[in-house]
């Protein structure tokens, strides 16, 4: 898949912005265009964080996305707010450790991953964002794992290469967990 | 059930302090300063005749917390707005609440001239050594060597001069009737700070001139410290540069 637009949302501190940055940067490394937009406007309030990423082979028009193809929701309020906006046929990725309610839509694919639990098992709950990124890549391979690895290596240069490796593990863990986990469209 | 024991109320929310969730970061002393101002307004019975002027900085929303009339001023201009209010309504109690970027950088002209005119207003001045709201840039009060987002290698006095001591700068002006510096870093200091705010408002009520209380405050977020470390840092690093005490006080209001 070449193009994608996505909104990722959660609490501040959950690494939402970083998730988007890794994805967008990986796309750029693969020669694609990408835009990354942090929370803006009313979304900026109240401890929530959102980011919008658009990836495309050619020119990107609007970096502002009202009706994303993909939603990554790291908490309940984000799911409630953004799930209704996902385009029909799109994809909703939910951190099942943080959100227990179902996604009230039958026209989108849903992937539920215990991201926080899985990250905790890997030693740091803050890597839940990378688990979700992995889940995303398994469902829509918009960038290669290799590009993601290069971005993480760049983000955690020596002497932090252990962090880079741990984050890669979180991504591959998320990929494995979500493979086949996507509920088909009903 | 036990019979009700006779209790005296030793602590409570001052009525002027609105009960609402705060937007300040954990460990920020803006909240303490708000409370002290609220207590003094209540204790002096000034609630129905006080007008506050909010500045531009993290305390821009002071009117969400203090239940008195408020006007929100442009960055640095609060003393001018307060002057306008007080000159037209000399019988009201008027105070500004300003940060160190607001008062001591962009608003230097307004504060000096309000003080020099002896405006009968009270200035609550929060010195937290950085610009909190905009993300921890250097303020005129930033300590030498202190790293901020615009002094990544630390404040260099050759480039930026030395921390501006506002209380010392204003105290000698004849229009200034009361000037003090207090700290919000421990219960004892907080109690002293409250006495000082009371005296500043009393100075205004007595028509004696301009009054200012400079409060050494924390900005854990801007400083990149935990709330507790920030309290310690304030006392260890700011006290030597910004000595506490009453620099000027009219005999009448000296308690």
């Amino acid at each position: 898949m070449a193009a994608l637009d996505l909104i990722a949302a959660g609490f501040g501190g959950q690494g939402i912005l970083f998730l988007g940055e890794v994805l967008a940067w990986a796309a750029v490394l693969e020669g694609k265009n990408a835009t990354w937009l942090p929370s803006y406007g009313p979304e900026q309030r109240g401890g929530t964080a959102t980011c919008t990423v658009v990836v495309a082979g050619g020119t990107i028009g609007s970096p502002v996305v009202a009706d994303p193809e993909v939603l990554v929701a790291m908490n309940g309020p984000s799911l409630d707010k953004f799930a209704p906006r996902v385009r029909p046929g799109g994809l909703v990725i939910v951190d099942a450790s943080m959100v227990d309610r179902p996604v009230a839509r039958s026209d989108v694919r849903v992937v539920r991953v215990d991201a926080v639990a899985q990250a905790a098992a890997l030693g740091d709950v803050r890597m839940a964002n990378m688990v979700l990124l992995g889940a995303l890549l398994a469902a829509v391979p918009v960038v290669s794992l290799d590009a993601v690895k290069r971005v993480l290596a760049d983000q955690f240069p020596p002497p932090n290469e252990a962090l880079a490796a741990a984050n890669v593990k979180a991504v591959t863990g998320g990929m494995a967990a979500s493979r086949g986990a996507a509920q088909p469209l009903r | 059930m036990r019979p009700e024991s006779p209790m005296t109320r030793v602590f409570g929310r001052p009525p002027v302090l609105i009960e609402t969730p705060t937007h300040y970061c954990p460990g920020c002393t803006h909240g303490i300063a708000h409370r002290l101002v609220a207590e003094v307004i209540d204790e002096l019975g000034l609630r129905g005749r006080t007008i506050g002027v909010a500045s531009v900085g993290c305390s821009v929303l002071a009117y969400h917390y203090l239940d008195v009339d408020f006007q929100q001023a442009a960055h640095g201009r609060a003393p001018a707005v307060a002057t306008g209010i007080k000159r037209v309504l000399p019988g009201r109690v008027v105070f500004t609440y300003q940060g160190d970027g607001d008062l001591a950088a962009i608003g230097t002209a307004e504060i000096i001239h309000a003080a020099n005119r002896g405006e009968r207003i009270t200035v609550i001045f929060i010195n937290n050594a950085v610009y909190g709201m905009t993300g921890g840039q250097m303020a005129p009060t930033t300590l030498v060597g202190m790293r901020t987002t615009t002094t990544p290698a630390g404040r260099d006095p050759v480039v930026y001069g030395f921390p501006l001591r506002v209380a010392e700068l204003l105290a000698p002006l004849p229009g200034v009737a009361y000037a003090s510096r207090v700290a919000l870093s421990s219960p004892a200091h907080v109690n002293r700070a409250k006495r000082s705010i009371r005296r500043a408002f009393q100075t205004q009520l007595d028509g004696l001139g301009f009054s200012i209380v400079e409060m050494l405050s924390t900005c854990p977020v801007g400083w990149g410290q935990t709330p507790i470390d920030a309290m310690r840092w304030l006392e260890a690093e700011m006290f030597p540069v910004f000595p506490l005490g009453e620099l000027k006080a009219p005999a009448e209001v000296k308690a």
Binding site: E21, A24, W25, V28, L29, N33, A34, T35, W36, L37, P38, Y40, G41, P42, Q44, I60, G61, S62, P63, V64, V65, A66, D67 | V56, V60, Q72, A74, H75, G76, G101, A105, I106, T108, Y131, M133, T134, G135, Q137, M138, P140, T149, T150, T151, P152, V159, Y160
Partner: protein
């Protein structure tokens, strides 16, 4: 070359350094603080001066004194405070680059993206009859490229040049290929250097004699006439368009997606994007207005550029306006809706 992946604010800062920036003066304000913070880290190590001033009023006057490639950046409230200084720069013909990353207004407003400073940037440099040249990038790459253009125009016309962006452009990240560094001439003929053996140089905007001040103004106006050759704009899918959307900066990007979606639905829509806001691409707008059946202007304001579009279109076609403001940002479906309304309006006619 592998592009960097950067925020608009930082791309402008790095591009300015590569354009030979000698000095930056500014005062913190959201949503552009990444720009001075980047320069605080990088400009001194590359031999330039970085100074945080005590206010925007001081900062623009430091710029007035710099006599070299100099930049200042701000957002709405600070841009207002710079107006007096900009008027002096224009009057004395002192170049500089001023960046305004617009936010919601009026007054303190908020820090969310907006385009409400169009009038203030394009209609007058403070008081008097002076103008800023105004460039409006729509992407991080263009913000980077136009920064170089801005310095060149400022020097060529000895006039302040504004880069008018918004909080969204400043804080979004995109790939950007940075230009190679240049080393501009250091001694400019007009600057007060205190080192001349020739006649003393005086920088002033004062002319006590009205004849002299009128002559100065004629010179400025002549300059702005010459600057008409700097007009830049871009058209997109206009060839057979019935509906021409006119938008600049971030609004134009949002509109571009809406135009594509309209085309998918069989509505012949196109986009006119002014890149220079002063000089305004009036001729281009006029030409397009003569070919299409209706024009839709969209801005993150209550309607500012639309006045220039109406002047240019000069009654040739109906000109409709759609704006969001106060920090609210329009979305492609919203603009698509407006395009469809415009299209059905002309179909009905």
């Amino acid at each position: 070359m592998m592009p960097a992946f950067t925020k608009g604010n930082e791309a402008i800062a790095e591009s300015a350094i590569r354009a030979g920036l000698r000095a930056y003066f500014g005062y913190p304000v959201t949503p552009q603080s990444e720009l001075p913070e980047y320069l605080a880290r990088r400009l001194p190590e590359r031999g330039g001066v970085f100074l945080q001033a005590e206010s925007e009023i001081a900062a623009i006057n430091m710029v007035y004194g710099a006599g070299a490639r100099v930049m200042i950046s701000t957002s709405g409230p600070g841009f207002s405070l710079m107006q007096e200084g900009l008027s002096y720069l224009v009057g004395a013909e002192v170049p500089c680059v001023v960046v305004d990353m617009m936010r919601g207004g009026p007054g303190l407003g908020n820090i969310a993206p907006a385009q409400g400073d169009y009038f203030q940037a394009t209609k007058s440099a403070g008081h008097g009859d002076g103008r800023l040249l105004v460039l409006a990038p729509w992407s991080v790459q263009e913000a980077c490229d136009l920064t170089r253009v801005a310095f060149d125009l400022a020097d060529r016309y000895r006039n302040p040049v504004a880069i008018l962006g918004d909080g969204l452009l400043g804080q979004m990240m995109e790939p950007v290929v940075l230009p190679a560094p240049v080393e501009p001439a250091r001694d400019v003929a007009w600057a007060t250097t205190g080192a001349g053996s020739g006649p003393a140089r005086v920088i002033t905007s004062l002319d006590l004699e009205p004849e002299a001040l009128e002559a100065r103004n004629r010179r400025l106006q002549e300059k702005y006439r010459r600057a008409q050759q700097e007009v830049r704009w871009e058209g997109y899918r206009l060839d057979d368009a019935d509906v021409a959307v006119v938008a600049y900066g971030i609004s134009a990007r949002i509109a571009r997606t809406a135009v594509d979606r309209a085309r998918d639905e069989g509505v012949a829509a196109g986009l006119v994007r002014p890149i220079t806001l002063f000089p305004f691409p009036s001729q281009a707008v006029r030409d397009v207005a003569s070919r299409v059946r209706i024009v839709l202007v969209t801005e993150l304001s209550a309607g500012q550029m639309v006045e220039d579009v109406r002047l240019a279109a000069d009654g040739r076609v109906p000109v409709r306006f759609y704006g969001r403001f106060g920090g609210m940002v329009s979305t492609p479906p919203e603009i698509l809706d407006q395009i469809e309304q415009a299209a059905s309006e002309v179909r009905a006619a």
